[in-house]
């Protein structure tokens, strides 16, 4: 997902540079291509339409035969009903607490580590970095059981600790990608800036916080968004570690909602809509910032 987004940004910056090769094509070919794209777009959007349509219908409208395609009358009531049927406000709060802890921890420790790997010289640095990078390939299943057993032994089950503490160790596991990304960005900042600060008597911490980090805002935003979406979407983590429903996240809450209200599709679609919307909005709001931020400084994946 993250590399996909990154590529999206890169693609956005060039906006069809190779489009030339077909631009002069036959009008008929162009029309066919447009038709295929448009048809595909309709197919891609169909599940979204089905989601919204069902979220606004009563059960009576949903199960009528022959099917009624559009809500009439519109059942807005599904939204308050769904959101109060289970404590979704609480789930949202829990999710945001975890988000705050994980995003802060990931950004801080990953950028600090990336600074060390990109701009400080120490023996064995590149070997250590190489070893860390192998973690990207590791299937999560291999560490899953001992990690769970470990947290259980520490009495940390049904708390947010197993879901948040690893983030403060540079993301642990999946966080390596973030270190890689930030490091690549740091490498593009001229080292003369650090040198000048060192000559003025600054220490590496000051160089990191006052010079390098402020210049790295675009990549920090990107890592923040990746991490935010990752936490929002995580299902297995909360499923393993949270058991009291008061501790549930939105993703876990939605899954249990689904298994409790199996046939109440209006409510289920309303709840799903509420879980999907923030991520889609986030994408639309930050898409521009993304493209611009990455364009300015030119990340190379």
């Amino acid at each position: 997902m993250s590399s996909a987004m990154q590529s999206l940004l890169r693609a956005g910056r060039h906006g069809g540079a190779t489009g030339e090769q077909v631009r002069g094509g036959q009008p008929f070919t162009r029309a066919m291509m447009f038709a295929v794209l448009a048809l595909g777009a309709v197919v891609m959007l169909m599940p979204f339409a089905w989601l919204v349509r069902s979220a606004l219908m009563t059960d009576a409208q949903i199960f009528i035969n022959p099917p009624q395609w559009l809500p009439d009358p519109v059942a807005w009531q599904n939204f308050p009903d769904a959101l109060t049927a289970q404590p979704f406000a609480r789930y949202f709060l829990n999710t945001m607490i975890i988000e705050a802890l994980v995003v802060t921890g990931t950004v801080l420790t990953c950028s600090l580590t990336a600074f060390s790997f990109a701009r400080l010289r120490w023996r064995g640095r590149d070997v250590v970095f190489g070893i860390l990078l192998t973690g990207v390939m590791l299937p999560y299943a291999v560490t899953l059981i001992p990690t769970f057993v470990g947290w259980a032994a520490l009495g940390a089950l049904d708390t947010f600790v197993p879901l948040t503490l690893p983030a403060w160790f540079a993301g642990a596991g999946g966080g390596v990608f973030n270190i890689f990304l930030i490091r690549q960005f740091f490498l593009t900042i001229p080292y003369e800036m650090d040198e000048a600060a060192y000559i003025d008597g600054a220490n590496p911490w000051q160089v990191f916080t006052r010079i390098v980090l402020p210049l790295a805002k675009p990549v920090i935003v990107v890592v923040t968004i990746f991490t935010f979406i990752g936490v929002w979407n995580d299902f297995l983590g909360p499923l393993l570690y949270l058991s009291d429903s008061r501790n549930f996240t939105l993703a876990l809450g939605l899954a249990t909602f689904q298994s409790t209200y199996t046939a109440q599709w209006g409510l289920l679609m309303a709840a799903s809509f509420v879980v999907i919307l923030p991520i889609v909005l986030l994408f639309f709001v930050l898409q521009r910032y993304f493209v611009e931020g990455v364009t300015l400084t030119g990340i190379k994946g």
Partner: protein, 293 residues
């Protein structure tokens, strides 16, 4: 600076080094040790050597889960690659509003996995779901989708294809790197659109195809959410994905030892596949002289 710089360097890298030791290396070693034991939660682990691995050979569900996962991978990955590539080419064809197309095709990948699962259960609903409603309206035969043994995995493949936008944006980024002057060279030689595609676009895109292939295979081998939320591995184990089987062994049946052995076998399988793909890549992945990627 010298020595002081080295001290700062190690200090700053400490979160990652500790994190790797605590959350990756430690659990990996522990997982391997667990895999050599007979350990039900609550009981004392008993060392049994490689018996867990031997037991897998005679475990029909292990083979079933491997088969289901392989089937899914072999269909879902190539479909996502082909569709993603074709759509990326179409989107890249110099439209004035390219970003609109890109956004529409990328949108489904933003849907959180749980919400996507809930939505697709409803789409696949045999009575009033989207698919059967449309098929009925068109007078076509309907299907039981995820509720029938033979169509369950194909249904999940259809669902995964909805998310091909991931592969597409990576292809789209790759297409920006194809040198345009080569198209002009082909045109000068009298080559048409097909020649441009075959002799320029495709060779230059092989590293990107390879990247999508490797990440795709690693991803599909670790499918879990769909099996847990949508099908519970059924009907009749038709969607018993490998990780789902591992999960039920560990957290439903409390067989921590056996589940750890399953985890290590998965690790080895992914390792071997990845190594094989990399080896095989030498014969078809084209890298520009000077190593642009």
């Amino acid at each position: 600076m010298g020595r002081a710089e080295a001290r700062w360097g190690v200090l700053f890298a400490m979160p990652a080094i500790l994190g790797f030791a605590i959350f990756t290396i430690g659990p990996m070693v522990a997982s391997f040790v667990f895999s050599l034991t007979d350990w039900t939660v609550g009981a004392t682990p008993r060392f049994i050597g490689v018996d867990n691995y031997r037991a897998m050979v005679d475990d029909p569900l292990f083979w079933k889960s491997l088969g289901v996962t392989t089937y899914y991978t072999l269909a879902a990955v190539p479909i996502a690659l082909v569709v993603g590539f074709v759509v990326a080419m179409l989107v890249n064809a110099g439209w004035r509003r390219q970003s609109v197309w890109r956004t529409i095709y990328y949108l489904p990948t933003l849907v959180p996995a749980v919400a996507s699962a809930v939505l697709w259960i409803w789409i696949f609903n045999p009575d009033s779901g989207l698919f059967n409603s449309v098929l009925r309206a068109l007078g076509l035969p309907t299907s039981n989708w995820i509720y029938s043994e033979s169509t369950a995995v194909p249904s999940l493949i259809i669902m995964s294809t909805w998310g091909f936008g991931n592969a597409m944006v990576i292809f789209l980024a790759g297409l920006q790197g194809v040198p345009r002057h080569l198209y002009e060279a082909v045109a000068l030689d009298g080559g048409g659109a097909w020649a441009k595609f075959w002799h320029v676009t495709l060779p230059f895109m092989t590293p990107v195809i390879f990247y999508n292939l490797v990440t795709g295979v690693i991803g599909t081998f670790q499918v879990f959410n769909q099996a847990y939320i949508m099908t519970s591995g059924g009907p009749n184990n038709a969607t018993l994905f490998y990780i789902y089987y591992l999960y039920t062994q560990a957290f439903t049946d409390s067989q921590m030892g056996y589940a750890s052995a399953l985890a290590w076998v998965l690790f080895l399988i992914v390792l071997v596949i990845t190594a094989a793909l990399f080896r095989n890549a030498r014969s078809w992945v084209y890298y520009e002289a000077g190593g642009a990627r």
